[in-house]
């Protein structure tokens, strides 16, 4: 008999589901890819067959053009049977629109690959579901006890207060174009902000896609071509890379804000020249990571990417079996 879980192999560029010859979030083009969510480091183009939620497939189509080769949409809660009899069920991960944990069942063993996830409420996607399993393959982007994301309402209040205090300026919020931007907009709406929210060009299509999937984002307008004066006291959303770019010179004296879990650490905010750090992340913080492992209570915990050392130490302290997988290519400097 094969040793437990030997059908799932961590390879440098992804997790390989051997009996199905399928890869999870592979870092290069493969024949069959099971994709957890649409962020570029997890969803690369050019696979023969892409198995993902319909929302993720739509995001990939928007980013990479039409997926000409095969795609298999799997709705939340739905199970598909892959080659070799491996069953894959897509379960909400609460990370971004369409994000899923993938539950794999084979030879009586259950493995969950989380992709990226969070436990906080997010108006743009369904919440993470705790699902029992034998092996829990978790991310650890914010796997250090210093990372504790504050309630998002506090961060929205900071943002709205900065806008009010800095008359004659505008607030420019750097946010990941997929997920973070839409969440910030939806949370601003939830906080009662009704004014137009202005968008960098790179944000527009993804926001429309979210709206097409039933996420109400209110009045959005592109910044392009709008005179400076019309943007005073505005809130503008752009990708983090545009914050200190020449692009931002067109704006009226922007207060530079950034929505990211890294903003918890002052030097990280300083290094990016951020005046208004907003600690908002679509990843689980330390408490969520440890709480999730406790709730799922697997036989083994595998840590894919991030600060895995500290999470492994925590598993050791709580007498849980755990190991780090040396996977390459997952980066989340901006989240």
């Amino acid at each position: 008999m094969a040793p437990p879980f030997s059908w799932l192999k961590p390879e440098p560029f992804g997790l390989h589901v051997a009996p199905a010859d399928a890869w999870i979030d592979p870092a290069r083009a493969v024949d069959t890819a099971l994709v957890t969510h649409g962020h570029a480091d997890h969803a690369r183009g050019g696979h023969g067959l892409t198995v993902a939620t319909p929302e993720t497939l739509a995001i990939m189509a928007l980013r990479y053009g039409v997926i000409e080769t095969g795609s298999t949409p799997v709705a939340y809660g739905e199970t598909v049977t892959l080659k070799g009899g491996v069953k894959a069920t897509y379960v909400p991960a609460g990370h971004v629109l369409g994000s899923a944990q993938i539950l794999l069942e084979y030879a009586g063993e259950r493995v969950i690959v989380t992709g990226d996830y969070k436990r906080r409420a997010d108006p743009t996607c369904p919440p993470f579901q705790v699902t029992p399993c034998d092996v829990f393959v978790t991310e650890a982007t914010f796997g250090l006890p210093v990372f504790r994301h504050p309630p998002i309402a506090d961060e929205m209040a900071k943002l709205l207060k900065a806008r009010e205090n800095e008359q004659g300026r505008c607030v420019l919020v750097g946010a990941y174009a997929l997920g973070k931007a839409q969440r910030v907009i939806a949370e601003l709406r939830a906080a009662g902000y009704r004014d137009t929210i202005w968008l960098h060009g790179a944000m527009e299509r993804m926001c429309r896609l979210y709206e097409d999937h039933g996420v109400d984002l209110g009045d959005l307008q592109p910044v392009a071509g709008v005179p400076k004066a019309a943007l005073t006291n505005a809130i503008i959303i752009c990708p983090p890379s545009a914050l200190n770019d020449r692009w931002s010179r067109r704006l009226p004296d922007p207060v530079t804000a950034m929505a990211s879990g890294w903003m918890r650490v002052r030097q990280r905010a300083r290094q990016r020249g951020v005046e208004l750090p907003l600690i908002i992340s679509d990843h689980a913080d330390w408490d969520e990571l440890t709480q999730t492992i406790t709730q799922v209570n697997p036989t083994e915990t595998w840590v894919t990417h991030g600060r895995e050392e500290a999470l492994l130490r925590w598993c050791e302290l709580t007498q849980r079996k755990a190991r780090a997988l040396a996977l390459v290519g997952y980066e989340d400097e901006d989240d």
Binding site: L144, V146, R264, R266, Q267, R270, Q271, R307, A310, L317
Partner: protein, 531 residues
């Protein structure tokens, strides 16, 4: 404490000097006494609690956090106080109200090594994450957020619409929480009395002489000696020697301190005996010889015998409690000349007026001056009062070659080879305008030689202790250290943000005696362009 924590956070994240000034000024205006005074002291490194050190923070955390998780976190965050503020376990239930800054200071002042752990833990429990950061920074006295005493004084002046010179003068006799200072500035009370204390008075400074020629019937000329500018104050039996930046260096030069027993305030150049400048008799050693004596808290007998210090006097600000600063230079000079013969001749002499008939004659005398270390000549308007700072048209310095400019250290990078562990590549900048009016430093060049091994050690230590940011291999410093940079020529350059490129820049000396805001401006460098 929450207001102070918010101020600290905003200061950390605000790069522009103007915005920092505005934040500080708002805080000083809006915060009641004595909190604002204690905060001011904390920001300018004026507070010290011997019972609270970084090791106390580490031991408090060791009781609460697994050591491996602490080390991983500390390595990632890069700052002990910040790591502890983030990892401190939130107390269960309702938090006790946050302490005021004054309460924190009073509490910490009464702690001993035995009581400190419990007291600090209790304070930490009463604060949120930003408050804890501010508390730990205040308690360990390591702010490192780029707020110099000078910037704090400018902010104070701005907050209450008073002059920076007055703030400088009255500040010196005060200790935290500076209540009389706030009473004067904010509430219109009489200024604190300064005539009975051995206080520092702000220096009068000179402009570089550009192309103008001056009429020597209006201006007197003196040699510009290559030592350090000092002010010696004697009042009520006490003597203090102050450096250019207003630091008390009495202990560094005890022979000078002990020698003045006449009540007065003198301005002059501190030098070490030698034959390097000014001839064999009554001559002075080079600046390097003097440098051996700088920065020491105690001085050995051997050093006193080997390199005795003296002061070449050139001005008299106050004599016998009579303030002469409003008087014309000529009148002050007459009083000084009458006073010098009554002083200890081994420690004090008079800076001679150069007997030039006219400006051309002076230029001729200046060009003949062969003494290596004479920096050039000073020109002082005969009717000028003694005013703080640099006022146009009153005093000029006419430096000699090579081209020299005072720059501020901005960034440092480690060298390679035998210097691989040292920060030895230095990027320095000049002000793009008046630093007190919000000008910024612009990098103007890079130098990696010109210093001795001893100086390199000093520079390396300075960089490590004054780092405010890290960008890969590059460290950003708090921009407090002034270099005199010597260079062959300077040219316009489109590739550099400053618009200039220096040729062959080297660090000719380290000016620990000079505050950063007195470094040269970009215009001074541009005036030297020889395209």
């Amino acid at each position: 404490m929450n207001r102070f924590a918010a101020l600290l956070d905003a200061l950390v994240l605000t790069p522009s000097r103007n915005a920092k000034l505005a934040l500080l000024a708002d805080y000083l205006r809006e915060t009641p006494d004595p909190d604002r005074g204690w905060a001011l002291a904390a920001l300018t490194d004026g507070l010290d609690f011997p019972a609270v050190k970084a090791s106390l923070i580490r031991s408090l955390m060791a009781e609460r956090v697994d050591p491996v998780l602490w080390t991983l976190s500390r390595e990632y965050v890069g700052d002990t106080a910040e790591t502890a503020s983030l990892l401190w376990p939130e107390p269960l239930g309702q938090r006790m109200p946050a302490p005021t800054v004054a309460e924190v200071v009073a509490t910490l002042h009464t702690t001993t090594r035995t009581t400190a752990p419990a007291i600090l833990a209790d304070l930490l429990d009463r604060l949120d994450v930003n408050g804890r950061y501010a508390l730990l920074k205040l308690a360990t006295g390591a702010m490192r957020i780029g707020i110099s005493a000078r910037l704090a004084k400018v902010a104070f002046a701005q907050a209450f619409s008073v002059s920076v010179e007055d703030v400088e003068e009255y500040w010196h006799g005060q200790s935290p929480p500076y209540t009389p200072l706030f009473d004067w500035a904010a509430n219109g009370a009489a200024p604190p009395r300064t005539d009975l204390l051995p206080l520092f008075r702000p220096f009068m400074l000179a402009h570089p002489l550009e192309a103008e020629t001056l009429d020597l019937s209006e201006y007197a000329a003196e040699w510009k000696w290559d030592g350090i500018r000092v002010q010696i104050v004697h009042v009520a039996g006490e003597t203090r020697v102050y450096s250019r930046s207003g630091d008390d260096i009495s202990a560094t030069f005890p022979e000078v301190t002990a020698a003045l027993t006449t009540p007065c305030v003198l301005d002059g150049e501190l030098l070490v005996r030698g034959a390097h400048q000014g001839g064999e008799t009554g001559g002075a050693a080079s600046f390097n010889a003097l440098q051996q004596r700088l920065g020491r808290k105690t001085v050995s007998k051997a050093m006193l015998a080997e390199s005795p210090a003296f002061v070449r006097l050139y001005d008299l600000l106050i004599e016998d409690r009579e303030d002469l600063r409003e008087w014309a230079w000529e009148q002050r000079r007459a009083r000084l000349e009458a006073l010098v013969p009554r002083l200890d001749p081994s420690r004090f002499d008079l800076s001679q007026v150069i007997p030039a008939k006219n400006f051309e004659d002076l230029a001729e005398i200046r060009s003949r001056a062969r003494d290596e270390a004479i920096e050039g000549v000073m020109l002082k308007r005969r009717d000028s009062p003694y005013v703080a700072g640099r006022r146009t048209g009153l005093w000029y310095k006419w430096k000699r070659d090579p081209l020299l400019i005072d720059c501020v250290l901005m960034y440092a990078q480690r060298g390679s080879g035998k210097r691989s562990s040292f920060y030895s590549d230095f990027t320095f900048g000049c002000w793009n305008g008046d630093p007190d009016a919000g000008a910024e430093l612009l990098p103007v060049g890079k130098a990696y030689f010109g210093f001795t091994d001893e100086e390199l050690k000093f520079l390396d230590r300075h960089v490590r202790q004054h780092t405010v940011g890290k960008f890969g291999p590059v460290r950003e410093t708090d921009k407090s250290l002034v270099f005199e940079v010597a260079f062959d020529s300077v040219h316009t350059s489109k590739r550099h943000k400053s618009g200039v490129a220096m040729r062959f820049p080297r660090i000719s000396r380290i000016r620990t005696d000079k505050p950063a805001h007195e470094a040269d401006r970009l215009d001074a460098l541009k005036a030297l362009i020889a395209d």
